[in-house]
């Protein structure tokens, strides 16, 4: 399968601000790829470089196998849906959508035909003569999408396109966008900071953190095998333990943390290494006595009801809190009782600690 967009060693530096670092990203033809990350992590900058509005400080970007650093935005086979929509306020909806075709000097009758088709596709029939200021947020959004899609781009870039809509409309537009993407078979590169949106819409998710691509994978991979602590905490809820490996037997790994031991399963770790253990709330179990490999006690503090789900908050002796999640009606410990949290070893995700070197250095200092 060919790659339609390839970013190789891309860096972007504004003054002293290193916004995008050594970005390697290959986007497959026809896929829905989401750039996900918290605000300020460099998503927009990355998208703007692909669109051609910014030049990478170093590195290369290829679209359809062609290096496009030299091409101006108006020469690229890529279109953008802007976060603020950027509709032309002095042009009617028809003229807004027809803009790209007019630039390509498409004959008038064909423009009319294609705009009409496109307006049908995004369910905007009858709005031809209106101006952008006369539309609601959701309608403007559709115009922005129609205006970009009418050029039949190979790649559509979308920068938080649903950010300004209310929750209900956002959910609806998520489905519509997904439907459009499947129907037209266009590659979407989609920027959002909303992890739920990313999980529901994407074929693959690229998680960015401080300008670095932390992990690239399918939603399931990202949820079940986060590669960094940031990814584990950013996607869904999780319980995090920082500790040091004290014993490895085959794939079974025992980790010492404050106030006791916990266990997990994984490969490629070595004894003495500092790691992070992530366990999803729904995977957490509890017992009245310590279990084999799990010796940390916890105090049951509170319950939170979220629809049909109950979250049980327990606190460890060092004050850290854990969440246990169950469906309503399932058995949970009483508030005030002491429990021993544990889990099936394969349910824990073990993550190399980025700060491992720092800890090792500190450990190597000997005090007389």
């Amino acid at each position: 399968m060919g790659y339609i967009v390839e970013l190789e060693g891309v860096n972007k530096i504004y003054g002293s601000n290193h916004v995008v670092r050594d970005l390697e990203l290959k986007v497959e033809e026809g896929e829905f790829l989401t750039l996900l990350g918290s605000s300020g992590c460099g998503k927009t900058t990355t998208l703007r470089m692909i669109a051609g509005f910014e030049e990478p400080t170093t590195g290369s970007i290829k679209v359809e196998g062609e290096a496009i650093e030299e091409k101006e935005p108006f020469e690229r086979n890529v279109n953008t849906v802007f976060q603020s929509y950027a509709l032309f306020p002095h042009k009617t909806i028809f003229d807004n959508i027809a803009y790209g075709l007019k630039m390509k000097k498409v004959p008038k009758p064909e423009i009319k035909k294609r705009v009409t088709e496109m307006m049908e596709l995004v369910q905007l029939e009858g709005f031809e003569k209106r101006y952008p200021s006369q539309l609601s947020g959701g309608q403007k959004q559709r115009v922005a999408i129609a205006r970009a899609l009418i050029n039949r781009p190979r790649v559509l870039l979308l920068d938080e396109p649903l950010g300004a809509l209310d929750l209900k409309l956002r959910k609806q537009m998520q489905l519509e966008l997904k439907r459009l993407q499947r129907k037209l078979n266009i590659t979407f590169i989609y920027v959002t900071h909303d992890q739920e949106e990313a999980l529901t819409m994407s074929d693959r998710i690229a998680i960015m953190h401080d300008g670095v691509l932390d992990q690239l994978g399918t939603p399931t991979e990202i949820y079940e095998q986060p590669k960094t602590k940031f990814v584990a905490t950013f996607i869904g809820e999780t319980n995090i333990f920082d500790g040091q490996i004290n014993d490895i037997k085959g794939s079974d790994i025992s980790v010492v943390i404050e106030n006791g031991y916990i266990s997990g399963r994984g490969d490629g770790f070595k004894t003495g290494e500092y790691i992070t253990v992530s366990v999803r709330p729904e995977k957490l179990k509890f017992a009245e006595t310590p279990q084999e490999g799990f010796t940390v006690p916890a105090l049951v503090k509170d319950y939170i009801y979220v629809g049909s789900i109950i979250k049980c908050i327990v606190s460890l002796p060092n004050g850290n809190e854990l969440k246990i999640e169950r469906l309503a009606g399932e058995k949970l410990p009483d508030i005030g009782s002491t429990i021993y949290p544990y889990w099936n070893r394969e349910d824990a995700v073990l993550i190399h600690n980025r700060d491992n070197m720092v800890f090792e250095t500190i450990d190597s200092i000997t005090f007389n």
């Binding site: 101006e72 935005p73 108006f74 802007f82 603020s84 950027a86 002095h90 050029n151």
Partner: protein, 292 residues
Amino acid sequence: MEKAHSKHNWKSNTLPALVTVGPLTLILVLLVAIPLIYVVVMSFCSIDQYYNVEFKFTLDNYKRLISPDYMKIYGQSLLIALVTTLLCILIGYPFAYIIARTKSKKKRLLYMLVIIPFWTNSLIRIYGWRTFLGNNGWLNSILQTLHITNEPITFLYKQGTTVLGMVYCLLPFMIFPLYTALEKLDGSLLEASSDLGAKPLVTLREIIIPLTSGGIFSGSIMVFIPCLGYFFVSDILGGGNSDVIGNLIERQFQSGNNWPLGAALSIILIAVTLILVRIYKKMGGDMESLGV
């Protein structure tokens, strides 16, 4: 009870209004309304043989306004104003665009470059041009020293020189509203246009100019109207064929000593101004960008 209530109302509503709006209204009445009424009344007065103003109603002044001599000067004045306005747009637009789109420190420097001459008295600056362009002026000395010409070239006393002076004086009035309009322009619209395949010049035509037409129009009004009245520019730089309406008015009040006729001429200028402002408002222009 009823009385106390109304007294309270007077104190809380009318008094503050009087105190704050009152002085302003008074100043406006003193400085604008009264002189204006005076001019209107004067334009209907007649003069005796010693050119003294008599308060005797007459339409003679207005009849004289439509004499062929005057008509020619109106035409000439309108032409000068039109050419000046067009030149100001052509020069001011790129300049305002650059200032509006430049970031940070350079922007302030560019802005100051426009403002500083604006703070200097324009009469002095126009005399500066005369010194520069005169037959014994710097420009001619330079040209003769470089042997580009042997005889001094007459730059002064032409319609073109008047236009040059007008453009020079009035350019800031064009740049300020253009700058305001361009500054407000949302950059993502330009990116969207380019993204959709428009080359820069097409974006200029399709997006930038239509969205800043308000600025172009208010700038044009602010250049065109003074241009009809700036008599000192044509006095100092222009020859006999570059009089503007302002020259006619000035002459009646000074050497002509025919105040009623001068007043009637002024009324024309006021009328042209009002008509232009009216058109401007009709076209959806907002008065704020005219500084009103």
